[in-house]
């Protein structure tokens, strides 16, 4: 792999190139390259430069606030945080997934399918399609949704309408397109009435048709650019995600499955409440984002990828017919082995988009979503773990509360965090294979962003290494002179570096 490019020796003799901000992703990040005199890449890193700290400031709040509070982590996939937190606090009121009222379970699934649909549509059409339709090194004026609207107006409208439909599903279930309510401890606060259900039903066939067309589009784009699309930013990794008990693709609730690069099972059907026995996180001094890894495989080899590519690779089948047919074509492309192409994330993502559209149709025809049996209560507990497959991958929420219902401890492992090592590896692969030794130009540097974008990272969600995060505090006087500087390392130790 390319880990030798994580930290260069003799950095003082190297040129520094910075891509900042990484554009068309959620949140703020930058890529730094260190180059020698011959433009050979000696170091490449993806840095996450924003800091959130949710895990700390939700301590001291009553647990029932969690689904509504933590969803503010994100404006793109708030529903994922809302539902992961809801699953955790269900346990605090004594409700396990099997005891959740059927209507509440189905409404949450509907909400979640709407969420994944809109998020995937947003990522593909608004953020990534300019790269895929015009080329990675196309003129900067082409690399935006505006250029897509100009060149492919019908496609752009479909993208906007697909996203809008997902947002409307969210609004019908949770009251608002972004940051609604909906899930409460042990259930949901409303069901759909007939008017709301019929409003969503009237467009669902068109949505399925557009979703299927988008899968054809990405398949054609991918397969017309071989072997480039199979090789670009590609790394052989482990994959992790939830599956149903029978191995089917699952987005809302299931057991943890992890496979290695050869497709061999590392763990399967693991109860996610015991995630801590299988997954640990490492902190590195140069990023606010942690580095998770599978304990059994160790820090060096235990990192893994999550998200659409992992899920479609890991599952045995998809329980909706059109998406399953698309999955079979995807697997055939990889000769039934694990598909490691990083750009195949897009393909897998649109297969999931189609699965969401089909699943929404099934649920809209299910009378349970109009039931008013919405909430269950059991015996109080003091710890809850909620895990869900967010659009970007497996999302872990873990909370502890005291006898007064106040949160005392929180741990979130956000999807993008799990892809941290992989994104860095992909950046290093592109830097080593496509950039090294060349005179760097702006279009060439977009290749780095294309590699990151394939993962659909949400950097805002993923930065919360509170307590262990490295920090640098500089005191600068009015003349711009550095008076004092304190540096806190990833071990929490604070050093005074310079003082006037």
């Amino acid at each position: 792999m390319y880990e030798h490019l994580e930290t260069a020796e003799n950095q003082e003799n190297l040129k520094r190139v910075v891509v900042e901000p990484v554009s068309r992703v959620e949140g703020h990040g930058k890529v730094t390259l260190l180059l020698d005199q011959d433009n050979k890449v000696k170091q490449a890193r993806l840095h996450i430069v924003e800091f959130r700290g949710f895990e700390r400031f939700i301590q001291g709040r009553p647990y029932w606030e969690l689904p509504v509070l933590v969803q503010r982590l994100c404006g793109i996939c708030p529903v994922s945080h809302h539902l992961a937190a809801a699953k955790a606090i269900d346990q605090l009121v004594g409700i396990d997934p099997a005891n959740l009222p059927v209507a509440a379970d189905k409404l949450r699934r509907l909400l979640h399918f709407g969420q994944v649909l809109q998020s995937h549509a947003l990522h593909f059409f608004h953020l990534s399609s300019p790269d895929l339709l015009f080329g990675f090194e196309s003129d900067i004026s082409k690399r935006s949704i505006i250029a897509v609207i100009d060149a492919y107006p019908d496609l752009a409208v479909q993208g906007v309408m697909l996203r809008k439909y997902g947002q409307e599903v969210i609004r019908m279930v949770s009251g608002k397109r972004v940051h609604g309510t909906g899930a409460i401890p042990g259930g949901m606060n409303k069901s759909l009435n007939k008017e709301e259900r019929d409003y969503l039903l009237k467009d669902i066939e068109q949505i399925i048709s557009w979703s299927a067309a988008s899968v054809d589009l990405i398949k054609n784009v991918h397969c017309s650019n071989l072997p480039y699309y199979d090789d670009f930013a590609t790394i052989k990794t482990n994959y992790l995600g939830l599956t149903k008990p029978d191995g089917a693709l699952e987005l809302y609730h299931g057991g943890i499955r992890a496979k290695n690069a050869k497709g061999e099972t590392i763990i399967d059907h693991v109860d996610y409440c015991k995630y801590n026995d299988y997954i640990h996180e490492e902190v590195r001094s140069w990023s606010y984002m942690k580095f998770p890894y599978l304990l059994s495989e160790g820090k060096e080899n235990g990192w893994y990828r999550v998200g659409p590519l992992a899920r479609v690779n890991n599952c045995d089948y998809i329980d909706t017919p059109l998406a399953e047919a698309a999955r079979l074509e995807f697997k055939a492309h990889g000769n039934s082995a694990m598909v490691h192409s990083t750009l195949a994330f897009h393909w897998a993502r649109l297969i999931e988009l189609l699965h969401c559209a089909e699943s929404i149709r099934t649920l809209l025809h299910d009378p349970d979503i109009m039931s008013n049996d919405l909430v269950a209560r059991g015996e109080k507990r003091y710890e809850g773990v909620g895990v869900i497959e967010a659009p970007r991958g497996t999302l872990f929420h873990h909370y502890q509360v005291d006898e007064n219902d106040i949160v005392t401890k929180a741990n979130l492992i956000v999807s993008t965090t799990s892809n941290n090592m992989a994104m860095n590896e992909s950046v290093r692969q592109v830097a080593a294979e496509y950039l090294s030794g060349q005179e760097l130009t702006e279009p060439l540097l977009n290749n780095l962003e294309v590699a990151i974008r394939a993962y659909d990272p949400c950097l805002s969600c993923a930065t919360h290494a509170m307590g262990k995060m490295p920090l640098q505090l500089e005191l600068i006087n009015a003349d711009g002179q550095l008076i004092d500087k304190l540096v806190k390392g990833s071990d929490g130790h604070i050093n005074r570096v310079a003082s006037a």
Partner: protein, 238 residues
């Protein structure tokens, strides 16, 4: 003969003993307020209901209606002052509407919308205030207390218990409860008390009920506070 006064040039009747705000409410005129509730003795502390009576600033909730008064209520300068007062209430505490369970049912938030408050304007104080979650059924979040004393008055006047009081002065003012430990669990409050339900913000809450009312069915989802208040308070005054 019926006694009358004018509010913003409109002549309205009143009865002896009514305050200006009572006369206004009966006539269908909304005067913004937070500490006033027709069920309890007026307190005159929030100053949102400040109106000009014959050219002088007065609290409409405490000032008696009198024959021939000329009252200015819905005026640009008065509403600008009301907006500033509301902004000060926001910055003095920690009011994070996006995650607050009172959102959509909160009078402070609704008044802010009514007064077209678009930002905090003043620097936020970010005071360090504690939660009292000791009681099994009731939560106090001091971050959201605006010292309207409605809980104090409700506990005293309706519940007959004196669970709450305001202590300290100025910026050190804070809500206290009547127990040796200082904790709500050691008072004689009960979840059915009026004082547990009267808070206009999210400072005193019934536990385990958050977000049960879906968006679209909350008090201020479809009506502004002026309509809601006139409907509820004119009913009460009858």
């Amino acid at each position: 003969m019926t006694k009358t006064l004018t509010i913003d040039g409109v002549t309205i009747p009143f009865e002896d003993g009514q305050t200006i705000i009572q006369a206004a409410t009966a006539a269908g005129i909304y005067i913004p307020h937070l500490c006033h509730n027709p069920e309890f003795t007026p307190h005159g502390s929030c100053k949102l209901c400040t109106v000009k009576v014959n050219g002088r600033n007065c609290s409409a909730c405490t000032f008696p209606a009198m024959d021939g008064q000329e009252v200015i209520n819905n005026a640009k300068d008065l509403n600008a002052d009301r907006q500033k007062i509301t902004q000060m209430l926001f910055v003095e505490g920690n009011h994070f509407c996006p995650s607050c369970e009172k959102t959509g049912n909160c009078q402070l938030q609704a008044v802010a919308y009514h007064l077209n408050m678009l930002d905090d304007h003043f620097p936020l104080f970010y005071p360090h205030r504690e939660l009292d979650a000791s009681h099994e059924e009731i939560l106090i979040d001091h971050n959201r207390c605006i010292f309207c004393t409605l809980c104090v008055r409700a506990s005293h006047e309706q519940d007959g218990k004196d669970v709450f009081a305001i202590s300290g002065r100025g910026i050190n003012k804070h809500l206290i409860v009547n127990s040796e430990t200082g904790l709500l669990k050691d008072t004689d409050i009960s979840a059915s008390d009026k004082a547990a339900h009267i808070c206009p913000t999210g400072a005193i809450l019934i536990k385990h009920t958050a977000y049960q009312v879906p968006i679209g069915k909350r008090i201020y989802d479809h009506q502004q506070i002026d309509q809601v208040t006139l409907n509820s308070e004119s009913e009460h005054d009858k």
